[in-house]
């Protein structure tokens, strides 16, 4: 593939990916409110457009026109930087996620992934962990006790879950013998080759850790409304606030995409085109996320720590050991 073609293809792929993800972020807020509403016998947004579908646009317009407040005690540079730091890593994950088969256009082989890194999974986990810096810096720089408490909780939580998170997919890597996301998906042709069936415990651990990693309920301690006002978000307003929200939802979509790619067969599926299968799987995983939020109450802080270190970590280790042993047989 010539350099020019590569550059054009990459530019197009990046543009499309970012656009789709940002749209997904906007409408996953709608999906969450709608689904959560129906879980609680409410209707959810229904005024802006049919079924309230234009609600994200109304929200965006409202947030842009809000006043941007910077507290007097804030560290101004870090305060301005924190939302960006938390938002960019959420988008970076999508660089290594394959969404379809290799296409052939104008005699050019175009892979349906922005970059087929041979260490794809490692990249995903490295980048996801960066997100914690945004939250910690936001909590620290705002100069408010609630923000600081939220930031501390967030860092403690993310560090304790990172280990189990990383270990939960080592089983898959042992089975697949590769770190590349593209190859992982290719190995999952056929329903029973999906890693969810070959690594059920690994999948459960992955989901639990992913929920903790994205600070979603029942592990949404950093922004626990009932105790910390809004945690690290307390002092933020306007577009900066919405950047954090976008980061949260982008992270949710990213984690759903990673789960789909690693455990649920990626774009593999019969009849429908690969991209559609990928979309369906990610959508269902997002719905599951919201379902969790509608079902489980928030954990207490010490329960969370105990759960992370005394349950998830040993289980993940045991899973790795058993998988390695069986693989060696």
């Amino acid at each position: 593939m010539s350099t020019v073609a590569f550059l054009i293809a990459s530019a197009v792929k990046v543009t499309v990916m970012v656009t789709v993800v940002l749209m997904g972020v906007a409408w996953s807020t709608w999906l969450e409110r709608k689904l959560l509403g129906h879980f609680q016998h409410r209707i959810g947004p229904n005024m802006a457009g049919p079924y309230g579908l234009l609600q994200p646009i109304a929200d965006a317009v409202k947030l842009i026109f809000k006043e941007d407040i910077v507290p007097d005690k804030a560290e101004r540079i870090m305060y301005a930087l924190a939302p960006i730091i938390s938002f960019i890593p959420a988008l970076l994950t999508f660089a290594v996620i394959p969404v379809g088969r290799t296409l052939t256009i104008f005699d050019q082989q175009i892979e349906m992934v922005i970059s087929d890194l041979n260490i794809g999974i490692l990249f995903v986990f490295a980048v996801t962990s960066l997100g914690v810096y945004g939250i910690v810096l936001a909590g620290w720089s705002a100069g408010s006790k609630y923000s600081l408490l939220g930031g501390i909780r967030s860092s403690a939580q993310m560090i304790s879950y990172e280990i189990a998170y990383g270990l939960s997919i080592i089983g898959v890597i042992l089975l697949a013998n590769t770190l590349s996301m593209v190859e992982l998906v290719e190995q999952q042709n056929g329903l029973f080759n999906w890693f969810i069936f070959r690594q059920p415990l690994g999948f459960v651990l992955f989901v639990v850790c992913a929920v903790a990693e994205t600070n979603r309920s029942p592990f949404d301690l950093p922004e626990a409304e009932s105790e910390l006002v809004a945690g690290y978000l307390t002092e933020y307003s306007s577009m900066r606030y919405s950047l954090f929200f976008m980061a949260e939802y982008a992270n949710m979509i990213a984690v759903s995409s990673v789960a789909t790619t690693i455990f649920l067969g990626g774009w593999q599926g019969p009849f429908l085109p690969p991209v559609v299968w990928f979309g369906i799987k990610v959508f269902l995983f997002m719905c599951f996320y919201i379902w969790i939020r509608a079902t489980l109450p928030r954990l207490r802080y010490d329960m969370l720590m105990n759960f992370g270190w005394k349950v998830l970590f040993p289980l993940a280790l045991a899973n790795v050991m058993v998988t390695a042993f069986l693989q060696r047989l």
Binding site: F39, R42, I43
Partner: protein
Amino acid sequence: MEIMFDFVKTIFIAFAKGFYTTFKHLFKKPVTLQYPKEKQPMAPRYRGLHYLEKYDDGSERCVCCGLCAAACPADAIYMEPAENEKGERYSRVYEINLLRCIYCGFCEEACPEEAIFLGHEYEFSNDSRESFIYTKEQMLANRPTREKPFKQIIRKARRIF
């Protein structure tokens, strides 16, 4: 080992139950009422905005005896009596301060002429204090239209109290 297994089973069942419960509720009909468009039917005994009743020939029932004002625990009623050309007593001024009124319905109970009632209307917010002085003309105009003759309504009201 046995204990571990039981523990895992218990946890699994608990989670399954919880998720099943919320899933069930996802398909139930929402209870939301689209308020300005849809309204909750009011209970017959609901005590809302007052109205003054008239005789069937169109003359006012109120004779300005002052019992309602006397019964009013919030001291919200102000009235001035007068005589019409036939020599009948009527209220020249009848005002209720809706900001003082506690909607207890004692005026309704006290009234010997079955003239004042508390209706079902509850949407009368406003942005000036003066507008909450509720005059006699407004109270007469607020009388709900009804098919049944007034006597039956009275009988129903008597049964309630």
